[in-house]
């Protein structure tokens, strides 16, 4: 955190100054470790084992915050008697189909009081293969589980099939000994962390878990975060001040680009892109989201969906034509960025837009990225600088190896200069869901333009080209609501800059007849009388005021600072904060008071906007047949979940299991110490000759790649370098690609500090300057010593400082829930000296392929 989010880290140091204990767990000693009370080196890829060990410590010593756990989590809920755990099936859960490598999650469901499974629950137990292909798990970012509202429970937590007991059995084998053996952490150090975490939680105290999004870049990435969530729920650290799970995201508005997604499987506000199989009508699409019979705010999905369609197609969208639902294109499987790159290599894609993104350096398997781009008809690169993704046809490593020959590369490239953050106005959404409006400081120079300008005018021109078309397929473009007001600078006349505030107002939503901006998504109607482009952002323009532009100084407000910017939903700064009060609505302790029920005023109040219906009393009990919002009891804080409870066990929505289980990374030098099942059995692989993976046990020849590598950021650079290697001040601070190795590894392989090393995988070989440092230490794992090496990933051949790209080393294997690649752990070889150049580079990699007989073609991997 001190390295990649230094200014955010000041708050950790504030907490430390007030007595907080800071623990840092990381494969590498960093600036964060230097300032922490305790630093724990860990083997990359073993986090579930580590956190699972703490879960076991909490459960076997009954250290959980029992009142919270019983009232607010699904610990008491009883799971189907058909469920079988990984203990019984050696690393698999019940329902596994080895043919498709997916689960049928029927046996993971809550037990039924009646014979028939409720509609809400049954609906999602369907085709998990499709769900994997479409990264359906990502929709659950705010969807929550759609399960029956009132499953059978045993509040004594004694029922053998209640979640609490299942969890306890599942993690029983995650003993300190197993943690030490798997993670390379000493038992003493592990217990120090486990005890500190448990002691600093429950009624009077809270512990925060902070992760950086390298956690998501694993074949079990979602389950990493799930393990953290289980622990924080057991200890009563969710929805309470000083607690929670903080995801430190890495880009100025990556939260915004997930909320208002440029993602293949999502529409704004986490509405799913309709798929051809299940969503051929508006009703099917809405029902798939709202899950009739469920509790919670997704029951109003009809209004959210209709408001989006109305925002897209305006007057053309009417109740009679299902608000133009049919205009939405349908997905049929995996259309993610890695699938698309493979399709580029296979010649199926014509054109590609790159919008402030540099996949030639920043995406896994750089060679595949560049070969894909070299096989397109055209690429439009919009960026501040001449980045590697714009110059792949003349300067990429594949030009040196002869794989791309400029005179034979047909791709047309348009490099369009972009406006910077100071040259346009608009909102970023930062990592805690807060939108902040940026004022424009000045007009961009020359031909530099905003994306708003580019896409508004591109849309205008494409629509002009289709004007007069009678082809039905062109209606979605011709009927599109695309009349945004423009104003002066940078372009004139018809080339003016669109008004970003007008777009924000459409995102917020308004009454169609009057133009009055909506103040809350509860005002959205499903009859076409209101429209709004992203329901979770409704309120950002409440009262006709741009709430994201609010700038009441922090010093003039309390610590929650609700009048600086605006956070979704409804300006709540902490989600699920109803949990900061006990079931009766009183703060769990005075020290941790945050939101509570005011008996006299008969409403929720506190330091933040309560994440609960304002006047629903804690004693409220829904009628038996209640649905949706009315079915949320006064003591159900997790209002987006189908049962109102925090999920220790997840019966639905996850592809790879209801509880996190340790699997080895796809590339690992070790056999899984816990189970026969080696790696995540449901991960998404692309088994192709151009995407070979290094062998791992029980496959043979894993010793060809004896070391573990991981990558992360430097303070002085930014991701793929497009905003830092071209900036003199930053380039000067970190001028050269390097690799950090321990003194022990340096001795083993003859590496000299300041000299060069070559790092090899089956994708490529790169060179880097050697930094011999005790920041990395050899770990003892499963009875032998393992060396880890660390690489920053910011370099390419462009910019003021150049170097090889660490991402060239990485193969494409994805988490099955969200289709994010495993790029934070892999195996490699390290040799002293520089790598070969020209065609000899590919010969070196081919030699390793021969030696390791890597799985390049057919065949299942463990």
């Amino acid at each position: 955190m001190a390295e990649a989010h230094p200014v955010g880290f000041q708050w950790v140091m504030e907490a430390k100054a007030r007595g907080a204990k800071v623990i840092h767990v990381d494969p590498r000693f960093t600036r964060t470790s230097a300032l922490a009370d305790t630093y724990v080196p860990i083997r990359a890829g073993s986090d579930i084992a580590f956190l699972g060990g703490i879960v076991n410590h909490v459960l076997s010593n009954e250290l959980d915050f029992r009142d919270y756990v019983v009232a607010y989590t699904n610990a008491a809920t009883i799971v189907s008697g058909d469920f079988r755990d990984t203990d019984d099936l050696d690393g698999l859960f019940s329902g596994f189909d080895p043919e498709t490598r997916t689960y049928d999650p029927s046996s993971w469901q809550y037990a039924e009081e009646q014979e028939e499974r409720s509609a809400a629950q049954a609906d999602d137990s369907g085709d998990t293969e499709t769900q994997r292909e479409t990264a359906a798990g990502l929709q659950s970012e705010s969807h929550g589980m759609q399960v029956q509202g009132n499953p059978p429970r045993d509040p004594s937590l004694q029922h053998p099939n209640c979640v609490y007991q299942i969890l306890k059995r599942h993690y029983a084998r995650y003993t300190p000994e197993m943690v030490a053996r798997t993670c390379g952490v000493s038992e003493e150090q592990f217990l120090e962390v486990a005890q500190a975490w448990a002691e600093n939680s429950r009624r009077d105290r809270t512990t925060a878990l902070v992760y950086s999004v390298g956690w998501t870049q694993h074949s079990v990435g979602v389950q990493y975060i799930r393990t953290g969530a289980i622990l924080q729920l057991l200890l009563g650290n969710m929805g309470r001040p000083g607690g929670g799970i903080m995801a430190l995201r890495g880009h100025a508005s990556i939260q915004g680009s997930t909320d208002i997604p440029t993602l293949f499987n999502l529409l704004p506000g986490y509405l799913p892109m309709p798929n051809a199989e299940e969503h051929q009508s508006l009703e099917q699409w809405i029902d798939a989201v709202r899950k009739p019979g469920s509790k919670g705010f997704w029951s109003n999905a009809g209004a959210y969906g209709v408001n989006l369609l109305k925002a897209y197609w305006g007057e053309a969208a009417t109740p009679e034509n299902d608000f133009c639902f049919d205009y939405l294109p349908k997905i049929t499987g995996d259309h993610g960025t890695y699938r698309t790159v493979m399709d580029m290599i296979d010649g199926q894609v014509k054109g590609y837009f790159l919008l402030g993104q540099n996949p030639a350096v920043g995406s896994a398997h750089g060679r595949a990225q560049r070969l894909g781009m070299a096989n397109l008809d055209w690429v439009v690169v919009r960026d501040l600088f001449e980045i590697e993704s714009a110059t792949f046809w003349k300067t990429s490593p594949e030009v040196a190896t002869g794989e791309i020959v400029p005179e034979q590369c047909r791709t047309e490239v348009f490099l369009m200069p972009a406006a910077s953050h100071t040259e346009k106005e608009g909102t970023f959404t930062q990592t805690q869901r807060m939108l902040q409006w940026r004022e424009k400081a000045l007009d961009p120079k020359g031909d530099c333009r905003s994306e708003l300008w580019f896409f508004y005018h591109l849309g205008r021109m494409v629509r002009e080209r289709y004007a007069g078309s009678t082809d039905e397929r062109d209606r979605p473009l011709l009927d599109l609501a695309w009349d945004y007001p423009t104003h002066g600078g940078p372009g004139d006349g018809e080339w003016g800059e669109p008004d970003a505030e007008a777009v924000l107002k459409e995102i917020n939503g308004y009454e169609v007849a009057t133009g009055r901006p909506l103040s809350s998504f509860t005002e959205m109607r499903d009859d076409g009388s209101t429209l709004g482009g992203c329901w979770i952002y409704t309120g950002v323009f409440a009262d006709g005021v741009n709430q994201a532009a609010r700038r009441k100084p922090g010093a003039e407000q309390g610590y929650v600072a609700p009048e600086w910017g605006w956070a979704w939903p409804a300006n709540r700064r902490m989600l699920y904060n109803r949990a900061s009060a006990d079931p009766e609505g009183r703060p769990w302790s005075e020290r941790k008071a945050y939101v509570w029920w005011d008996e006299a005023a008969q409403e929720w109040t506190g330091h933040d906007v309560p994440d609960f219906e304002k006047t629903k009393p804690p004693t409220y009990l829904p009628a038996e047949d209640a649905e949706g919002v009315a079915a949320i009891a006064g003591a159900d804080p997790f209002i987006m979940q189908g049962d109102g409870k925090g999920a220790l066990f997840v019966p639905q929505g996850l592809i790879d299991g209801p509880m996190p289980t340790h699997y080895e990374p796809v590339e690992s030098p070790f056999r899984n110490p816990f189970y026969a099942q080696q790696a995540n059995p449901t991960r998404k692989d692309y088994v192709r000759e151009d995407n070979p993976m290094n062998p791992s046990p029980p496959e043979e020849h894993s010793e060809v790649f004896p070391y573990v590598f991981t990558t992360s950021r430097l303070t002085e650079h930014h991701t793929a370098g497009g905003m830092s290697r071209y900036v003199a001040r930053l380039a000067e601070l970190q001028p050269e690609m390097f690799v950090e190795v321990s003194p022990e590894l340096a001795a083993e392989r003859g590496l000299e500090n300041g000299g060069f090393a070559t790092i090899v995988t089956l994708r490529s070989a790169i060179e880097a300057r050697v930094l011999v440092t005790e920041r990395l230490s050899p770990l003892r794992v499963d009875g032998r010593v393992i060396h880890q090496v660390w690489l920053p990933y910011h370099w390419g051949e462009g910019g003021l400082v150049t170097g090889d790209s660490a991402n060239d080393l990485i193969g494409v294997s994805l988490d099955p829930n969200v289709l994010i690649q495993e790029s934070k752990v892999g195996t490699c070889d390290v040799q002293p000296g520089r790598r070969p150049t020209g065609p000899a580079l590919r010969e070196l990699v081919a030699d390793y392929l021969r030696r390791s007989q890597g799985t390049t073609g057919e065949g299942e991997r463990p």
Partner: protein, 187 residues
Amino acid sequence: MPKAFLGWPVLRQLTGRDTLGRGAAVRSPRTDATVARTETADSVARSVCPYCAVGCGQLVYVKDDEVVQIEGDPDSPVNRGRLCPKGSASKNLVTSPLRQTTVKYRAPYATDWVDLDLEIAMEMIADRVVKARNDTWQELDEKQRRVRRTLGIASLGGATLDNEENYLIKKLFTAMGAIQIENQARI
């Protein structure tokens, strides 16, 4: 040169009230004439750092149509005026001489860039989008289900863009039938 001697900072420090040498003793007429760029700026815009997702407030100072300074916004409850090395270098980012300010075009099989007029480039891109869409249009998939889409146009990016921009990007591509629209959140 008694005047110069008497003006010597060490002497002023030893004989004056500023014994620690952190105030009047070490000031010179040149120091006094120095004015911060932030004071002489024509305008200041309240902005947000474009690097990581912490969301530090920035103040962008402009003079004669150039950014002359970017500082942390002391009012922001996020960063209290502080910026990290990258945020502190953001003036250098936006004023870098390496920034592209004209459209560059690489024709098929060409070995170098040529300059292109912005409006001509826009016309060419619009033509290519229309052609790619028409050439790859898919009304039904292989199972005869209605999909109304193109798999010929892909896009990657958005995590450093504004919400308003991402909104228009997704809206336009969706209306076009392009679905391979992705950003860093998948990476």
